[in-house]
Structures are given as C-alpha cells and as structure tokens.
C-alpha cells in the first residue's frame, strides 16, 4: 500500500505551515486551562463548605510544618523541571535525564509527605466522611496529589524514552509538554497553599 515513515521525521505538515509539535503544545495548553476549571470547581466547593466542620477537625488543626515543607519541595521541583528543559535545549541528554530524575524524586517526596499528612489526619479521626469540610479538603488536595502522581508516572515513561531514543524533535516536544504540566501543578498548589492552608490556619 504505502510506505511507512518513521515519526522521527514528523516535523511533518509543512504543507500547512505548522508542525505537529506546536499543535500538540497548543492542545495541551488548552487542556490545562480546562483542568484549571476542574480545580476551580473543587475550590468553589471547598470555599462554600470550609466552615461545615460538624464539630470535628477544623482548618486550624492543620499541621503547619507539613504543608510548608510540601510547598517548598514542590516549588523546587518546578525549578528543577525548568532546568531539565534548559538542558534539553542545550542538547545535553544526560543532564536532562538527571534533572528529570531529581524532579521525579522531589515529586515523590511531595506525594509521600501528603500521604503522611492524610494518614495522620485519619488517625485523629479526621476522615473524608467526618464532615463536609473534610470531604472537600481531601478531594481538592487529593485531586492535586493524584495529578502529581500521574505526572511522576508519565515522567518516568519519558525518561525511559529519552534513554532509548535521545533528544529528538518528538521527545523534545514531549518534555516541553510535561514541564508545562509540572509548572501548572505548582501553580495550582500555590492556591491550595493559600486558600486551604494559610487561610485555614489564619
């Protein structure tokens, strides 16, 4: 029938004067905007329900050091993922992989701390079904945590692909996209940090 081409040459679509890579970044960007709306929905619910504690755990009871630590770890990981992209543009594959691994580890640390925080709360009886406030808290923060975990799995996949194929237009594009994702998660966390934690313990 027709010959197959390796996608390596997928700087295709010159006939349209744009390329797949750019297209994918735009699509992903739009996806992030919609993801932002998903988070807004949970933020909205949280804002409405934050006083509905049913006499149980309140926002004053949050573990302050825990969330400060989480915040800085995520901030740093956002920075390291940026460094990874810089390395990629310089064509330094090893350095790129190294920074990605650092990012993954920081992300994992973040998730670990979060799980720990949740576990401690549950131990105190502050479970998701204790009150509307806690339901909205666990859902919002958990949704973010799930995003981070997903990002970690994804990044590991990309590290493997980089190791296999090196820096190609395709892998390059994939890295740009995940770094976008990672920064986005950091941006969302800023609002969780502010609205959930800071305004909670205030």
């Amino acid at each position: 029938m027709s010959q197959s081409v390796s996608a390596q040459a997928s700087g295709h679509g010159h006939e349209h004067g744009h390329d797949q890579g750019e297209l994918k970044v735009l699509g992903f960007w739009i996806f992030l905007v919609t993801d932002c709306l998903l988070f807004s929905t949970f933020f909205g619910a949280f804002a409405v329900l934050r006083d509905h504690t049913d006499g149980g755990f309140t926002a004053h009871d949050f573990d302050v050091t825990g969330f400060i630590l989480e915040t800085f770890i995520l901030l740093i990981s956002s920075f390291t993922s940026g460094l990874a992209v810089l390395a990629m543009h310089k064509g330094e594959k090893n350095s790129l992989i190294r920074w990605l691994i650092v990012t993954v580890l920081l992300g994992a640390l973040f998730v670990g701390l979060e799980i720990n925080e949740f576990a401690n709360m549950v131990e105190e009886g502050a479970t998701i079904s204790r009150s509307a406030f806690l339901t909205s808290f666990f859902s919002l923060v958990g949704l973010h945590g799930a995003h981070v975990s997903f990002g970690i799995m994804w990044m590991i996949g990309l590290i493997i692909q980089l190791a296999q194929r090196g820096i190609t237009p395709v892998t390059k594009n994939k890295i740009s996209i995940i770094s976008l994702y990672w920064h986005f998660l950091d941006a969302v966390w800023i609002f969780i940090f502010t609205v959930v934690y800071l305004m909670g313990v205030m």
Binding site: M1, S2, Q3, S4, V5, S6, A7, Q8, S10, H12, G13, E15, H16, G17, H18, L23, K24, L26, G27, I30, F31, V33, T34, D35, L37, L38, S40, T41, F42, G44, A45, V48, L49, H52, T53, D54, I128, S129, R130, S131, A132, F133, L134, T135, S136, S139, L143, M153, W154, G157, L158, I160, Q161, R165, V170, K174
Partner: protein, 669 residues
C-alpha cells in the same frame, strides 16, 4: 452488592427487551462471522482514525439513541394519556424520564452534533483531518462506551430514577442506593471525557488546521459555530467532571459534599450542575445555528447577510451562556439581587439570538428560495424556535418563573427549543450533508412525510403542555387525578399530547424507512456538489477520498467554492491546471482507542456495582494502554503520489461514468 438484583426482573417489557437484545446480538455476531466481516469491521471502522468514518459512527449512534429516547418518550406518553393509568408503576416511570432526558441530551444531541463536526469541519476548512486524529477516535469510543454503559442499565441492575440531572440528596446513597444512580454517573462521566477531548480537538483544528489562505473571517459559519460550541464545551465540561466526581465521592467514599447531614449542602450540587447544564443546552444549539446558516445561504442562492454579526452573536452566546445558570433555580432562595442579575443576563441571550434570526430572514430576502429537504426543516425551525425562545424569555422573568418552574410550561419550553432548534437543525444537517458522506441523496417524498408528521406531531404534543402548565400540572408525576380527590381537568390535554407523541414516532419510522429506501434507490450524487453549494466541502467528490483534498485548496475569501465556480464559468474554456501532487502525510489506524474504552467500560461497570477491584483493574488497563501508546513512535505514513493519482483518476472516471449511466436511467424511467 446483592447479585440477585443483577438482572432487572419482574416486568414483561424488560423480559422482552432482554430477549430481543440477546437475539439481536446473536444475530449480529452470527452474520458478521458468516459474512467474514470481522476483519473488515476491525480494519475499516473500529480502528479508524478517519474523521469521516468517525462522523458516520457518531451519526449511527445518535439515530439509535434517538430511537431509544423516543421509545422512552412514547412510554411516558402512554402512561400519561389517561388519568389513573396503571401502565407503568411509579419507579418505572421515574426511571424512564430520567433515561429519556439523559439519553436525548447526552447520547443523542451530543453525538449528533459531533457527527456533524466530524463530517463537515475538516472539509469546510480545507484540511485533511482534525488536529488530533487519534484523540478523535478516542473521543468517539469513550462516548460510545459511556452510552452503552448507561443503556445496559435497562436490563442489568436497573436505571437511575432521580431525574436527568439527579439532584441530591435524592441521588445520594440514602435515597438511591444501588447501581442505577451509579450507571448514570459513570455513563456520563466516561462519555464526558470524550466530549471534552472533542472540544479541544475541534478548537485547535479550526484555529490551526485551516488551509493557509483561509483567514478566520473567511470561515464558513458552520465552522464558526463549531468553534463557539467548542469554547463553551471547554468552559463547561470540566465542571461536569468535577461535579460528578463529587457525587461519586459522596456515594463511594461516604463523603458529604451534598448530603443532608454532617454539613453537606445539596444546593451546591444544583449550583454546579447548572453551571455545566445551562451552557450545555447552548452547546447543542450553537452548531444548530451553524447548520442553518449554511442551509439558508445555499438554498437562497445568496451571501449570508450580516456575516460579522453572525460571528459576534455566536461568540456572545457562548460566553454569556456562562452567566445565566441560576435561572434554573430562581426558586431556591438565593436572594433578590442574585435573581435579578441572572434574570437579566438570561434575557440578554435573546438579543444575539434574535440577531441571528433576523440575519437569516434577510439572507433569504432578495434571494431565490429553493425549498429543498434541508430548507424545509429550516422553515419549520423559525416559528418553532422563535416561539420556544420567547417562552424562554418569559421563564427568565424570575418572579414569573416562580409560577412556571417545574411545571409542564417548562417541559413545553425546552422541548420546543430542543426539538425545534436542535433536532430539526441536526436533521437538516443530515439531509444537507448526506450526499457528501454517502454519495447519494435521501428520498424527498418519504422525507416529506417524515417532515410533516414531525411538525404536526410536535405541535399536537407540546402546545397542550403549555396549557397544562397553567393548569398547575407539575413535571415528573407518573399519575394524576388519583389521589385526594383533585380533578384538575388535565386529562383531555394529556390525551392530545400523547397523540402528538405517537405522530412523532411514526414520523421517525418514516425517516428510517427513507434512509433504508434511499440506500437502494436514492439519487446518486456524481457531481460532489448536489445543492450548488458555496463552501469547500462541495468542491471535492462525494464521498470524499481518504485524504479529502489531493491539493490543499486556495481560498480567496468567503464562500470560496461559489466564487471559484463563477470564475470557472466566466473564463471560457476554464481548464484546471494539471495538479502536481505531493505525498500526503496521514495517521495510521490504531486499535488503542477501542481497547482503551473497553477498559473504561470495565472500570465503569466495576464501580457501578461497587466491585472496586474490577473498577481499579479497568483503570489500570486504561493507564497501561495510554502508556503503551506513549512508547509507540511509528504512528504515521505517507500516501505516495502514484496512489493519489490513481484515486483521483478513478474518482473522475467514476463520476463521468455514473453521469452517463444515470442519464440513461433517467431517460429510461
């Protein structure tokens, strides 16, 4: 979960359905095997990433769901035809209106809309496919699997019965235990992912994939309407995902977002679901406007009047529709300031909508109106939609709505806009683009029967419902006149209304007949341009070849094809320069979308029955397919030049050939 309730029992109608489902399934499986069509089905359809084929699959699914939703409607109308009817029990009736509403909007109107998106948009903008063909296939399969998951609830486990938007606390476990409500949640949740992905896909397609010479302001209005609808999808569907997620958390994890106890707030759900639900109804109506813009211009043989206003009004509708949601719960006491604000925002939508109506009228003004099949539906649309819109504005007057809310006046309003606006438009679109997709026209005479029966049926069914609203009849009641000695005089009008419903049923049957008949006898379209069209899709053969355009078309403004034709006519002996083809880059077929949605089905089914192991297994399957795909690099190919030449020549020869034979046929007849 008690598995003894796995199969819905105790109702002859459901046993009938069980038997016929099993028979039909066996029939399909056997005939596929006998005809050795499995490979064909897999290669040509299940794994396809071709937007045209995906469009066709959407279309089939939509028609199927129109039937299913329609049968629901007929059942309801039989029950309501006479007072004190014992045809359906309360719970059964409740399931039926819930599935009717859900199916009609989410599994009929939405796929019908995506069918048109897929079939038309790339062709109208001179593109060879959508921006992300694989994602497009995923969208379809995820939608389809969601719809199927929802539909099997009829025979397995039982359906949801708390209304098409399932307000808590009624939809919480306390009041709706069991799988029915879960089916509703997971069916919509899974198919919702597909809708969101389509929104992204078409927004990017329209922004980025146009033939380079087509500026935004040259774009056909249907394409504009798709862009507007996509924007609204992007704004609204994440909220649906989130809201359903919260309801899931309440039900599965014993959460308290919307429960009565422990601080939950049911009104929060109402607030959120309408933040999606209201834009949703405009999402389905915007492309309807787009269809009519094309149809009116084509069959008036005239440029669209006020193109600029048409575009602005659509964008305005898409954005303002985000600011009206409270009109669905004016009576929940959010306060006078809130109500007045949202009442006025709601009315404001009438302004751009009106502008569109006027512009259509003046597109016809000083034109030459050809009453073809699509145009027939437009002519029916105008009065129906305008009156339905006007009753919408009446509903928007908040204190008046205190008297209409949840009454049959409301039922009449939304059927008038949904059927008169959405269904009529999509049917018009189907008639209009049918030759383009399938290469033949649908029979006019049968179509006219269908048309008139729809019209008569519609008015007979829904006009009395306005009156019933004024008589105080509320929605979602399975029985009237029975209790407490109230005879409110609802019986005669309900009977009339039911007659109308049957007429619509007959109308639909005519349309099915029409399609089947035309497959055999329909007028073949060998020109590629049966309506003397104006936009690019008519410049290529019908059905379009795999790659749509052998040469990416050059566009010199609006109505590109119309002016190109004039140019060709004017220049005596206009000879198209021999095209110089280049290899065309295409995506490869992939089984991944189908496989992934099968895993989604497993997940949805597991969570529905609260078999969490199965649910998570399904989700892991989804993740693994995604992961595997991410490692696939060999995803595209080029169609070589000689193959393009062969195809193009064959198409050209076929058209001359058929032209000849069909001439003979016509003479012979």
């Amino acid at each position: 979960m008690n598995t003894s309730h796995f199969f819905v029992t105790g109702d002859p109608m459901i046993y009938g359905a069980d038997v016929s489902i099993v028979l039909v399934t066996i029939g399909i499986l056997v005939s596929l095997t006998m005809l050795k069509k499995w490979g064909w089905l897999w290669r040509e359809w299940i794994t396809t990433v071709d937007h045209k084929k995906i469009g066709i699959m959407y279309l089939l699914a939509a028609l199927l769901m129109l039937f299913r939703g329609g049968v629901d409607a007929i059942l309801m109308r039989i029950q309501l035809a006479v007072p004190n009817s014992q045809f359906l029990a309360s719970d059964h009736y409740n399931e039926i209106f819930t599935t009717h509403g859900t199916i009609m909007i989410l599994f009929m109107a939405m796929p019908f809309m995506f069918a048109l998106f897929n079939i038309v948009v790339p062709l109208q903008i001179g593109a060879r496919d959508v921006a992300y063909p694989l994602l497009n296939a995923i969208s379809f399969w995820v939608f389809f699997i969601g719809a199927m998951l929802f539909n099997i609830s009829f025979v397995i486990g039982g359906s949801a019965s708390s209304g098409w938007l399932s307000y808590p606390p009624l939809s919480e476990t306390t009041f709706s235990p069991g799988p029915g409500q879960n089916f509703w949640i997971w069916g919509i949740q899974i198919s919702g992912i597909g809708s969101l992905a389509s929104g992204i896909n078409f927004a990017v397609t329209i922004l980025k994939m146009r033939t380079p010479s087509m500026r935004l302001r040259d774009m056909p209005l249907f394409t504009w309407s798709v862009l507007a609808a996509s924007i609204a999808i992007l704004g609204a569907f994440p909220i649906l995902t989130g809201t359903l997620g919260m309801l899931t958390i309440d039900r599965m994890l014993d959460g308290h977002f919307f429960t009565m106890t422990k601080g939950g707030n049911p009104m929060m759900y109402v607030n959120l679901i309408w933040m999606w639900g209201h834009p949703e109804v405009y999402i389905v109506v915007l492309p309807a406007f787009g269809v009519f813009s094309e149809v009116v211009a084509t069959f008036s043989k005239k440029r669209t009047f006020g193109y600029g206003s048409m575009v602005y009004s659509m964008i305005a509708i898409a954005v303002v529709s985000y600011y009206t949601w409270v009109h669905h719960f004016f009576t929940m006491g959010a306060g006078v300031d809130v109500n007045i604000t949202f009442a006025i925002c709601t009315m404001i939508i009438g302004i751009p909508t009106g502008v569109k109506v006027f512009n259509w009228l003046f597109t016809m003004y000083r034109g030459r109106i050809e009453i073809s099949q699509p145009m027939l539906w437009f002519l029916a649309f105008v009065p129906t939609f305008v009156i339905g819109g006007a009753t919408g504005v009446m509903l928007a007057a908040a204190p008046a709505d205190y008297q209409y809310h949840n009454s049959y006046f409301l039922i009449a309003h939304f059927h008038q806009v949904l059927i008169g606006g959405v269904v009529f438009a999509y049917l018009a679109g189907m008639y209009y683009w049918f030759p383009k997709i399938f290469g033949f026209e649908l029979n006019y005479t049968l179509g006219k029967w269908g048309f008139w029966l729809w019209q008569i049926g519609f008015y007979v069914c829904f006009m009395p419902q306005y009156a019933l609203g004024f008589m105080g009849m509320t929605r979602r009641i399975y029985i009237y006149n029975q209790t407490e000695g109230w005879d409110m005089g609802w019986a005669p009008l309900n009977l009339i209304s039911s007659v109308g419903a049957f007429l619509m049923g007959v109308a639909f049957a005519f349309q099915v007949w029409q399609i089947l008949y035309s497959i055999k006898y329909g007028k073949r379209d060998f020109t590629g341009d049966p309506w003397d069209g104006r936009t690019l899709e008519w410049s290529i053969p019908s059905p379009a070849p795999l790659y749509n355009f052998a040469i990416i078309p050059e566009v010199k403004g609006r109505d590109a094809w119309w002016y190109k034709k004039q140019e060709m006519q004017q220049e005596e002996g206009y000879e198209q320069e021999t095209p110089k083809y280049e290899p065309i880059h295409m995506p490869k077929n992939s089984g991944m979308p189908f496989i992934m949605s099968c895993f989604f089905f497993v997940a949805g089914f597991g969570f529905t029955f609260e078999w969490h192991w199965m649910g998570f297994l399904g989700l892991i399957g989804v993740a693994i397919t995604l992961y595997a795909r991410s490692f696939q690099y060999n995803t595209d190919y080029f169609i070589p030049v000689d193959e393009i030449e062969r195809t193009e020549n064959a198409l050209r020869n076929r058209s001359t050939l058929i032209q000849k034979t069909s001439m003979e046929e016509t003479l012979g007849r």
